[in-house]
Symmetry: C2
DNA sequence: CGTCTATTTGAATGTACTCAAAAGCGGTGG
DNA sequence: CCACCGCTTTTGAGTACATTCAAATAGACG
């Protein structure tokens, strides 16, 4: 049951069997049906989330009612609204399932406790955040310097499996363009 | 000399005098003249950097020769190219001084050592990255959902002091628009 | 099978861009 | 201290890429 998440930890740190045992005791398993919310904008995010199976999206809705996807999370990704989780303030984001999914959740008290009881996790989380930070930075840079077409080409290259798995509309939203635009870009790229 | 950086640490963790002493022993002080590089694209980033005085920018240059600012860093901000620093790969970014500045640098060996010798720093860095991650995420969301004018208004509100300190050209580059566009936006906002 | 949503296509529109030139500002050296 | 040079900012005109709105087609799900 905890194979994947323990494998994920082992990418950065090595836990003793006891520590692993303790760590997994903090986790709550939850299944989500397609379209089910994990977090709704306005609520306080009570969990950090590890995706064991399926696919979630984090998005916000602007005043015009348009959705903008900030992040996808598939198997072995972590997600959640860190800001709301840490500060206890209402979240600006919605998180829901794009497929039937299975996740592990950690609530705030467990979160605090686990860093105290297993200090190695501080390192794990630092490294996780480091990587997330790096890819965010790159995404910002790309959003500023590349055309929609180039951004899409990069997306395909970087996340080849997302391509088949996600509907066009979601990808468009992630890239910050309209579905119509992405449809045209695809058509053009097939011909080109 | 180390007042500011120790104050910065104390926002998240409490060091004993000995630990503080040890921590500062890792630091190298360096002054930068306006326009001086801390890091040039293509080089490997050898330092993480704390700004004690002045202002730096991190930017990349696209194929058309255009600069895109990913981050500003003024007093009490940390900066650097985390990706290059960690992975030892050439950096995509340039970092230089927009004003005469004074910084403290930590090189990679010291960086590794300090986390081992002062494990509390893992926590500090995790929290630092957590905040950085949160604001990156928000920036991505804003870049996607807001018009140039709204992004500028947010920038003014969030970083009021940057407004007077930074030339229009640099702000435009940070917002992902041309100087011409920002000039027009400003004109419009004064009238409106 | 029918309904609802996603995707495609077309036409008109708009926001921000490019290119060009003038005006403003700041730093440097005579 | 002033004049000059280079860079920044402003303004104008034309353009391009992506958007909006609308409608048709395709696909998914109950």
């Amino acid at each position: 049951m905890f194979d994947l998440i323990l494998k994920n930890l082992s990418r950065h740190i090595t836990l003793t069997p006891e520590e692993a045992e303790r760590f997994t005791s903090y986790l709550q398993r939850r299944t989500l049906r397609k379209k089910q919310y994990l977090l709704q904008g306005g609520d306080v995010s009570r969990y950090e989330c590890f995706v064991n199976k399926g696919c979630l999206r984090t998005y916000l809705v602007d005043d015009k009612g348009q959705e903008h996807i900030v992040q996808f999370a598939i198997e072995e990704w972590w997600t959640g609204d860190m800001y709301s989780f840490i500060n206890g303030r209402p979240s600006l984001y919605h998180i829901d399932a794009l497929e039937d999914s299975e996740v592990f959740l950690i609530d705030r008290p467990s979160w605090e406790k686990m860093f105290v009881e297993i200090p190695k996790l501080e390192r794990f989380y630092r490294l996780l955040l480091q990587n997330a930070f790096i890819s965010m930075q790159r995404r910002i840079a790309e959003n500023m310097s590349l055309s929609a077409e180039e951004r899409y080409a990069n997306f395909q290259q970087r996340y080849p499996h997302f391509e088949q798995r996600l509907p066009l509309k979601q990808i468009a939203s992630y890239l910050g363009i309209t579905p119509e635009s992405l449809s045209r870009i695809r058509k053009k790229m097939v011909k080109g």
